[in-house]
């Protein structure tokens, strides 16, 4: 049964919420979520790429020969990644510095390639865009949530934008940040536990 555009959009927010439901695209999830700001920034960048790639893949879906489709998709995706990279450098340089190596790696984020291949190459443009938006926003929210969790525990703050942040130690002056959470192992553990919580809610 064909889904409506709304359904295509909403499925990314819960049913196929990345990276929890589709356990994909983990590298940026783990790498950049030391603060909520970074998480959301990364999520938005990915959403932009997803949107662009889904849109163009959907347009060209009938022209691209099957055997080189992966290469073609990758070129489309990579172009958007570079666009994001350049734009971010020009207009959000601080964020670019923090996200660093992970921006170019959006190109190998399997969510993007996966959506292009599994969805956009088979569906009409509006559906593809809805799909990209849904998945992208879901991804952004997940990253934001994970970033917020790690930040609040690991640093005692929640950065909303640059200097605009909430500081836990203003309420609990004796709070000692649980530094583990913002370190590499903490990222895995936090994601794993969040996944568990989501599974519990899902049931």
């Amino acid at each position: 049964m064909p889904k409506t555009i709304t359904q295509e959009f909403t499925k990314g927010l819960w049913e196929e919420l990345p990276p929890f439901r589709l356990v994909l695209g983990l590298c940026p999830v783990l790498g950049v979520t030391t603060t909520m700001e970074n998480g959301i920034g990364m999520g938005l960048a990915t959403t932009f790429v997803l949107l662009g790639s889904n849109f163009f893949v959907s347009i060209f879906r009938n022209i691209i020969p099957a055997k080189v489709r992966i290469a073609c998709f990758i070129i489309i995706i990579a172009s958007f990644v570079i666009v994001v990279e350049l734009l971010m450098q020009a207009y959000a340089y601080k964020l670019f510095l923090k996200l660093g190596v992970f921006i170019p790696l959006i190109v190998v984020n399997c969510i993007v390639l996966g959506r292009a291949e599994a969805f956009a190459s088979k569906n009409k443009i509006p559906h593809s865009v809805a799909d990209a938006l849904g998945i992208g926003i879901g991804f952004t929210l997940s990253l934001g949530a994970l970033g917020a969790l790690r930040e609040i525990l690991g640093k005692g703050t929640v950065t909303v934008w640059e200097t605009w942040m909430f500081n836990l130690s203003s309420i609990f002056p004796s709070f000692q940040p649980f530094d583990f959470m913002v370190q590499a192992p903490g990222a895995f553990v936090a994601l794993g536990l969040m996944l568990c919580v989501l599974n519990v809610i899902g049931d």
């Binding site: 060209f60 022209i63 691209i64 020969p65 055997k67 080189v68 290469a71 073609c72 070129i75 489309i76 990579a78 172009s79 570079i82 666009v83 350049l86 734009l87 450098q89 020009a90 207009y91 340089y93 601080k94 510095l97």
Partner: protein, 197 residues
């Protein structure tokens, strides 16, 4: 055969279209990116070194070719006189180049300050070079002719504990900067004059 040709053609067209597009975006953003880079990467270091200067060093900058690369020089105006220039040297660190902004008083040929701009060292260890004022302050007031080395290598800079490689790299970076300075001194003096006029 037909299919093969189609494959090649599609791929080629797609690649070149994207190349063109990217080049266009690049052209459009180039200037802005440079500004941003200066502001965020080198800005803090320059501000640290040229603390108290009366001008905006980032705006007052000029470029000189040095060994096939363009180098930017930032001018600091102290006591009404543009006598300090800040520029970047680089040293090989453990995780790639470490960029060190060095400020030199062109009149006294003395280092007035150094600060790390870019690095990719292990967080928590080598990276402290950037945040550790104690370490970089050792460079202050050194003469440009002095050999700049860590104590282990017979110099007088005390290495940061547990980060010898980084410390060495910083020293190498300062030395590199001094080499540049000495090479380009005539041109620099020339340029500086323009600011003082």
């Amino acid at each position: 055969m037909n299919e093969m040709i189609k494959m090649v053609v599609v791929l080629t067209i797609l690649a070149s279209v994207s190349g063109g597009l990217l080049a266009a975006v690049r052209n459009g953003t180039e200037a802005q990116i440079e500004n941003q880079q200066l502001e965020f990467v080198k800005g803090p270091a320059i501000k640290m070194i040229l603390d108290g200067s009366s001008n905006d060093p980032i705006a007052d900058r000029f470029k000189i070719m040095h060994q096939n690369t363009e180098k930017s020089f930032f001018v600091g105006r102290f006591d009404g006189k543009a006598n300090v220039i800040a520029f970047e040297g680089a040293g090989k660190g453990y995780g790639g180049d470490i960029g060190i902004m060095v400020g030199v008083n062109i009149d006294e040929d003395k280092i007035i300050g150094a600060a790390v701009t870019t690095h990719s060292e292990t967080p928590g260890l080598g990276a402290t070079a950037k945040d550790d004022p104690g370490f970089v302050s050792q460079f202050k007031n050194l003469s440009i002719t002095e050999s700049i080395k860590v104590t282990n290598d017979g110099g007088k800079i005390n290495a940061m504990s547990g980060a010898t490689i980084t410390s060495r790299a910083v020293c190498a970076g300062v030395t590199d900067a001094m080499d540049i300075y000495q090479n380009l001194k005539p041109q620099l003096t020339e340029k500086i004059k323009a600011f003082n006029q």
